[in-house]
């Protein structure tokens, strides 16, 4: 103990670079945002006025905000469930593959290395109403695809692009989770008379619950924050705000509309919302998780 006390400064010196990065790139901007939420600033940043909670009350009184909230909830549920369900399906299938398993796994992990904007553009081109391959096929099937006009199709497009991108991340965790389940448990269940479907739902799925819970938290955060690039590159929040999620609205109001005070207030609200959501997940869902 005595030796450690003599070097009380050393840990801080060792931590300093990391702390400096976190301070400069996270705490300082976050503090600025919180501060800004209480001011109204002119578009050129020449002067600002303290308005207390007016930015918040204005945001919370606007129908636009609640529409964006509704869109975000629908979008997040779609992305989280879609990405997790598909990833689980692929992981279960990949877990059974014996020959060429490595190639499969590598290919399935690939989309994670693609930048969000690139992923978005990829899907946008495939489904572009005038020149997209997939939209041409859909047209042949009698489906008139035009996400530039149809809000529901625009939403489907951003959900698909976001799911495709997040799926790889989930896949890696689900596959690791599956491989951590001892083979003998499934064999015991087979001897105990459970068919493959029943084995999955009564043994595999419950044993994956820690993984699923972790991924649910990560996917919610992803859907709320990290899909900005995908949305911006494909629909830019349109048509008519049909894909304008909360994070996209923060960007639009702040950097397109130059209402920095409102934008800051919204980002504070968004942060509180995600914090609350994560807290709720830990509080209520984690109890049901089997470790």
């Amino acid at each position: 103990m005595a030796t450690f006390q003599r070097h009380r400064l050393t840990p801080w010196i060792l931590l300093a670079p990391q702390l400096a990065i976190v301070a400069v790139f996270f705490f300082w901007p976050a503090a600025q945002a919180v501060l800004q939420a209480f001011y109204v600033e002119d578009p050129f940043g020449l002067g600002r006025t303290f308005v207390a909670f007016e930015n918040f009350t204005r945001v919370l009184a606007s129908a636009e905000y609640y529409r964006a909230l509704g869109i975000t909830v629908a979008f997040s549920i779609g992305v989280a469930l879609g990405a997790m369900a598909l990833a689980l399906l692929l992981a279960v299938l990949a877990d059974r593959v014996i020959k060429g398993a490595h190639a499969y796994k590598t290919l399935l992990i690939w989309p994670y290395a693609v930048a969000p904007a690139v992923a978005g553009v990829l899907w946008m081109f495939m489904l572009a109403p005038e020149l997209g391959l997939v939209s041409a096929w859909l047209g042949a099937l009698g489906i008139d695809w035009n996400h530039q006009l149809n809000g529901g199709q625009a939403m489907a497009l951003v959900v698909m692009a976001s799911v495709w991108k997040q799926m790889s991340y989930n896949f890696v965790f689900f596959l690791a989770g599956l491989q951590a389940i001892p083979r003998s448990l499934l064999e015991a269940a087979a001897i105990d008379g459970a068919g493959p479907w029943r084995r999955f739902w009564t043994i595999t799925f419950p044993l994956l619950s820690p993984t699923s819970f972790f991924l649910l938290v990560m996917n919610s955060v992803y859907a709320f924050f990290e899909t900005f690039g995908t949305i911006d590159a494909t629909t830019a929040g349109g048509p008519g705000g049909a894909t304008r999620t909360l994070v996209y609205k923060v960007f639009e109001d702040g950097f397109v509309g130059y209402d920095l005070g409102s934008s800051a207030a919204q980002s504070v609200l968004l942060m509180l919302l995600v914090g609350l959501l994560t807290l709720l997940q830990f509080r209520y869902l984690e109890r049901k998780v089997q470790y």
Binding site: L185, A189, A190, I191, D192, G193, A194
Partner: protein, 371 residues
């Protein structure tokens, strides 16, 4: 309550490796068969084939006379106790035990009754609400047993169920398994690499080596008349000593000059002589029927003393089991006389027992050798 019949069972993996070369075995109703052998001998593969966890490449497996080769594990009406117990970690003890009944659609009330009844039988009634991770190793082992018993299966399969327990618990559970199996009268196949476990549990013992059955018989039969050098070395602890010997005027002559009179009619010039450690006795004077040895290591076990000794011109040290506490020390010279009536002679090349005309004691060996 079932008979099991294995007819020329073979296992060949897709990569061409043959793990089992034709296994023949008939198991009677209520019998406890212990399959024993070194790792890689195919004993676990055999058990997994009985369970339906491994496919059968060739041959026929029948339970109660009905061919089950292509039946799913669930349809064979067998229960298996795994080495790592394979308890479902997210279920309580009661749910673990009731899982198979639930899968079969047994009503809840009856399920509960059966689980409680079984729990009482094996002393688990206070632990029914616990999760597996809250149990000790011995308790987990009990739950695994309970899960097998509650189903009232035709056959119990045990895959080295005691190897994760400490020595004391292992002895205790061994006795308990034997007691339960006799009481329930269920046919059982028990795989282990521990020959003491094998000897004490088995009605009949199956010794396997390299995918073949070496010998089948009661533990004492295998001890008294091992059919091959492999069985002789595997059954009995400490293991049998082996010496090269030559035939000389009806006697056996050892390289060190010792001559041993034998009643065996041996036609080979050179044989492998097997002497169990307990059939070497200490004598005070050397003569031409004794072995003159130098003590290398003494292991006092209380009731017996094991002396590891070296014989001139012999590479492997010999082990002698001496009565009680013997005044021997490292470096002492020890005169040992083999019990001439309890010698075992084996062919130097094939390793088969030489005096054994009673080929029926190892029915599957000749055919499996050819296979």
């Amino acid at each position: 309550m079932a008979t099991l019949s294995l007819d020329a069972l073979r296992k060949t993996y897709p990569n061409g490796f043959t793990a089992l070369h034709g296994i023949d075995l008939a198991i009677d109703d209520g019998e406890l068969i212990v399959v024993v052998g070194p790792s890689g001998c195919g004993k676990s593969t055999l058990l997994r084939m009985l369970a339906g966890l491994e496919s059968i490449s060739d041959g026929e497996l029948a339970i109660d006379g009905r061919r089950v080769n292509d039946l799913e594990p669930a349809e064979r009406d067998i229960a298996m106790v795994f080495q790592n117990y394979a308890l479902y970690p997210h279920m309580s003890v009661a749910d673990n035990m009731g899982y198979a009944l639930k899968n079969r659609g047994v009503p809840k009330a009856e399920r509960r009754r059966k689980v409680e009844e079984t729990a009482r039988l094996i002393g688990l009634e206070d632990l029914l609400d616990r999760r597996p991770r809250q149990l000790s190793g011995g308790q987990r082992q009990r739950v695994a047993m309970g899960r097998a018993i509650v189903r009232e299966p035709k056959v119990f399969l045990f895959d080295e169920p005691l190897s994760n327990l400490d020595a004391k618990l292992r002895v205790q559970m061994r006795i308990e398994i034997r007691r339960l199996q006799k009481r329930l009268g269920v046919t059982a196949v028990y795989v282990t690499h521990d020959q003491v476990e094998a000897m004490t549990l088995a009605d009949r013992l199956v010794v396997m080596n390299g995918g073949h059955i070496e010998q089948v018989g009661t533990p004492m039969h295998l001890y008294e008349r091992p059919a091959s050098r492999f069985v002789a070395g595997f059954i009995g602890s400490p293991a049998m000593n082996f010496l090269d010997a030559r035939r000389a005027d009806g006697d056996l002559a050892l390289p060190c000059g010792t001559r041993i009179a034998t009643s065996h009619e041996v036609h080979n010039d050179a044989v492998c002589l097997g002497i169990r450690p307990e059939h070497l006795s200490r004598v005070s004077e050397a003569d031409d029927t004794t072995l003159t040895t130098r003590v290398e290591l003494v292991e006092p076990l209380g009731a017996d003393t094991l002396a590891h000794v070296r014989l001139d011109g012999q590479e492997e040290p010999l082990v002698a089991r001496l009565d009680g506490v013997q005044p021997v020390a490292e470096g002492d010279t020890l005169y040992l006389r083999p019990d001439a009536s309890r010698l075992h002679l084996f062919d130097l090349d094939t390793g088969r027992r030489l005096d054994d005309k009673d080929i029926h004691s190892c029915p599957s060996s000749p055919s499996s050798r050819l296979a």
